[in-house]
């Protein structure tokens, strides 16, 4: 009984001393810092080059070899020459989906932008866009869009089906332009310069 009282008293004294001296009780503890969490959006980037058997930068359609020259000075090898009503020519555009792009893409439409010249000519230039694909056992040009060039100048012309252009891959488009036979003499000697553009949208979450 006396011993018990003694130890109790001792504990109280020790506690008091600890409190008076400002001592703290150290308990076992541990903690984790949450790992840094960041969110980065992907990037959709497509580029293109004309393809006449060898992809190079430069316009698909050009009248002289000099007009079709690449930025490095390599002349175009398939100039159209001046156009006569009834003429038609094909151009090929290879579209790439590669770094810094990080997402798969759908190619969805194409359009034209007027750079210079007589826009009236666009009413007599018929544009057809094809996608080469296997039909049965042979490679076939499947038409995906068409219209007067003036329609393409007015805004995007949607493809009749979205074309997959997967990350790291490419997609080829064939452009056929025909100068209509009904083009009148008022267009003799006239010139039109346009930019053709291809539009893409993300494929993820967008079936």
């Amino acid at each position: 009984m006396i011993k018990k009282k003694f130890f109790l008293a001792l504990a109280v004294v020790l506690c008091t001393i600890a409190l008076v001296t400002g001592g703290t009780f150290a308990l076992f503890t541990d903690s984790t810092s949450p790992a840094d969490t960041s969110f980065t959006a992907g990037q959709l980037v497509i580029t293109s080059e004309r393809d006449a058997g060898d992809t190079v930068p430069g316009p698909m359609f050009y009248v002289t070899a000099a007009q079709g020259a690449t930025p490095s000075g390599q002349p175009g090898i398939y100039p159209t020459g001046v156009w006569a009503p009834g003429d038609f020519y094909m151009g090929t555009l290879t579209v790439y989906n590669r770094a810094p792009s990080t997402l798969d893409a759908w190619l969805v439409s194409t359009q034209a932008d007027l750079q210079s010249g007589n826009a009236a000519m666009a009413d007599k230039l018929w544009v057809e866009v094809f996608h080469p694909e296997m039909v049965g056992s042979s490679m076939t040009d499947v038409k995906i869009a068409e219209g007067w060039l003036s329609t393409f100048l007015a805004g995007p012309v949607a493809f009749n089906k979205n074309l997959p252009c997967m990350l790291g891959g490419n997609c080829q488009l064939h452009f056929k332009v025909t100068f209509d036979r009904s083009a009148g003499n008022d267009l003799q000697g006239e010139e039109l310069v346009v930019t053709f553009a291809v539009n893409a949208v993300q494929k993820k979450n967008n079936p």
């Binding site: 316009p59 001046v82 893409a200």
Partner: protein, 172 residues
């Protein structure tokens, strides 16, 4: 309970979005192919493409000649054609004025249209020799009569325009 409330709230929000016609913005990209050039060619003749020649004050047995030249100046290859009209009292009747037209290789009628002169390139020239004569047998009915010869050269693009025989245009 809380889970049900959150789910309900999300459903309401989604329906509201759909009802208001809100669109979802997806990532897009585009690529351009610049400087596509389309230049129309030309089909042009130098002046004069048409000439009118008066033949008058001639007597039976008289003859003469002159040359008619036209340059083709267009940058597209073209078919050139000849239209001729010979009229007047001196050119009709029993012993009319006789007119021959030739390019040195072929003869052409003095009264016909769409006669093919050939296929020409830029800066080529068509040269026609016109010979005329009034027969000695022409009688007094021809006194004071006159005639006019009209020569007209025309051009049409040769590209995408050739007849089945390959000898001229399918259309003027």
């Amino acid at each position: 309970m809380k889970k049900r409330l959150m789910l309900s709230l999300m459903t309401v929000a989604l329906v509201a979005l759909l009802a208001s016609g809100a669109t979802f913005a997806l990532f897009t990209a585009d690529t351009s192919n610049v400087d596509n050039t389309f230049t129309a060619g030309t089909v042009t003749l130098d002046e004069p493409a048409t000439t009118l020649i008066d033949i008058n004050n001639i007597a039976p047995g008289d003859s003469g000649s002159f040359t008619y030249e036209v340059a083709y100046t267009g940058n597209l290859e073209a078919w050139l054609g000849l239209d001729t009209v010979l009229n007047g009292d001196l050119a009709s009747g029993a012993t009319p004025l006789d007119v021959t037209i030739s390019d040195g290789t072929n003869n052409y009628s003095s009264n016909a249209s769409d006669q093919v002169l050939g296929r020409f390139s830029q800066d080529d020239t068509v040269s026609l020799d016109i010979d005329w004569s009034l027969p000695l047998e022409a009688d007094n009915d021809y006194q004071g009569a006159s005639a006019q010869l009209s020569l007209s050269v025309k051009a049409v693009q040769a590209k995408n325009n050739i007849n089945a025989a390959g000898t001229g245009p399918s259309s003027w």
